[in-house]
């Protein structure tokens, strides 16, 4: 399925779709003479992105640092926690329902609390991103670690492997596809959470730029920041997908 989705016809029609959207967008703006606060033209947004180059670069850099730091910390904690719970099944039986319950709480609800606890700086954003990413990765890793073949586990055990070795040699590789897909989904989520938290209170970053621009009713700038954020999210998503394909070569 994956390889089929990259056939040249798909790429061709995908590009056609994108071009059509751009033409429709620009055409609608020009035809109906839409004011910028409803929808600015794409050209206008691109020009403003060039004009605001330095502001946008600084803000993007800050948001990316926060998102990536939180992403790395969250993924590491999530996987580690899943491994620990797999090693101690009793603990897992008690923790799993609680974890699922906590995961169904909207993560943004914690944002005001984290801001009060960790301040307006980058720390609060990193904490929020690691929370959001950590839970997603943790739940997927836990499911994945359970998927190893029963017979293979017995075989390894008959060779005298201890539980830690079974996890390292068998369960973790078996869980890798699920962990990787959770980490792929988490890339865009980490950017979104960083930006949301910045909008609630920050000294810089894309969310802050968007918030300021909204206050100044400068909607072209809002769109410029949205474009920058989407571009970076796409690059982040693409990079992680590429690493995924390299690491999980057997898929």
């Amino acid at each position: 399925m994956k390889s089929r989705s990259w056939q040249s016809a798909d790429v061709y029609w995908g590009v056609a779709g994108a071009v059509l959207l751009v033409v429709l967008w620009e055409g609608a703006v020009r035809a109906f003479d839409l004011p910028a606060y409803i929808l600015p033209g794409i050209l206008e947004i691109l020009v403003s992105m060039v004009d605001l180059q330095s502001t946008l670069m600084d803000a993007t850099w800050m948001t990316v640092m926060e998102a990536v730091s939180g992403y790395v910390i969250g993924s590491a904690c999530g996987i580690l926690l899943a491994v620990i719970l797999t090693l101690i099944p009793t603990l897992k039986r008690w923790c799993l329902p609680a974890a699922i319950a906590i995961n169904s709480v909207p993560v943004v609800a914690y944002a005001p609390l984290v801001l009060l606890w960790f301040g307006m700086g980058a720390e609060s954003k990193i904490v929020m991103v690691s929370l959001a990413v950590g839970f997603t990765v943790f739940l997927s890793a836990l499911t994945g670690l359970d998927q190893a073949n029963r017979k293979s586990i017995d075989l390894l055990r008959s060779f005298g492997a201890n539980p830690l070795m079974i996890i390292w040699r068998l369960k973790l590789p078996a869980a890798l596809p699920l962990i990787a897909s959770a980490m792929r989904v988490s890339t865009t989520r980490s950017m979104i959470v960083a930006i949301v938290t910045e909008m609630l209170g920050a000294y810089g970053g894309l969310g802050w730029v968007i918030y300021q621009a909204t206050l100044q009713i400068d909607f072209v700038q809002v769109w410029a920041a949205i474009f920058a954020a989407s571009l970076v999210s796409l690059i982040f998503f693409g990079a992680v997908s590429m690493i995924e394909r390299k690491v999980i070569f057997w898929r």
Binding site: G14, G17, A18, A98, I195
Partner: protein, 257 residues
């Protein structure tokens, strides 16, 4: 994995969850009390309960308001998502042209749109539901499409040989086959739609759980903030649990859920 096992597992897991929450609450209360943590750092659960009891109307109306926004956004997202999935599976060209755009649209931080959506739709409940909808429709579209593409071609051929129309094929075979996948997305969407509603309220409103969260933050009212978080938690877990329950009832033939 027998079905009796899966069914008997549900109440037990729920019980364990409730017990877990109760134990966590007790330990929390005891720890804060024993370590003498000031309530502006970490309030006790009993303080939160009394905060809610002091102004029950604010929490109740906020809860209901956010619930309605979430449900409208969720329902719209589910219907449009399933519709998109069906359309994409029937019209390959449409999928090739539009689906990549959908993928890109999901990398856009929705929240950045918040201000715009409020501007477009006014400061109404609809604006919040639109944000909830935007977060919801994509996972449902993807899973519907994946589920529909997994239909056994032999079964399709069999139904066609009986003279089934395209509509009958869809209702009798394709959608039921895709149902387990669709429900996985709906469960995820239940949480996402709540996120959309809460964040939507941040762009200006007077009632709702998101408003309560924001007001408590600006007033540095830690007790109120926690009460609002727990109210959101209650809404989120209940909605998610209900979706899981409906899933079990509707997709009864799958017992490995």
């Amino acid at each position: 994995m027998t079905s009796t096992h899966a069914l008997s597992d549900l109440p037990r897991a729920a019980l364990r969850g409730v017990l877990g929450v109760a134990i966590v609450g007790l330990i929390w209360e005891a720890l804060v009390w024993a370590l003498n943590v000031p309530s502006h750092t970490m309030p006790r659960p009993s303080q939160m309960a009394s905060a809610v009891a002091a102004t029950p109307d604010a929490y109740l109306s906020g809860f209901l308001r956010t619930l309605v926004e979430t449900l409208i956004g969720f329902a719209a997202g589910a219907i449009v998502g399933i519709g998109n999935g069906v359309l994409f599976s029937k019209f390959t060209r449409l999928r090739q042209m539009v689906f990549p755009l959908f993928v890109v649209s999901q990398t856009i931080p929705v929240i950045a749109f918040g201000a715009l959506v409020v501007l477009w739709f006014g400061n109404t409940m609809l604006a919040k539901s639109v944000i909830a909808f935007y977060l919801t429709f994509f996972p449902v579209t993807v899973n519907t499409l994946v589920g529909l593409q997994a239909v056994n071609p032999k079964q399709e051929a069999l139904l066609r040989s009986f003279g089934a129309s395209r509509w009958q094929m869809l209702i009798r075979l394709q959608l039921p086959t895709a149902l387990p996948q669709i429900f996985v997305a709906l469960r995820l969407a239940s949480t996402l739609s709540l996120v959309g509603a809460i964040v939507g309220e941040w762009f200006g409103d007077t009632t709702g759980l998101g408003v309560l969260l924001l007001q408590a933050m600006y007033n540095e009212n830690m007790v109120g903030l926690w009460a609002a978080i727990l109210a959101s938690a209650l809404l989120g877990t209940t909605f998610y649990g209900l979706m899981a329950l409906i899933e079990r009832t509707c997709v009864f033939w799958r017992n490995d859920l």
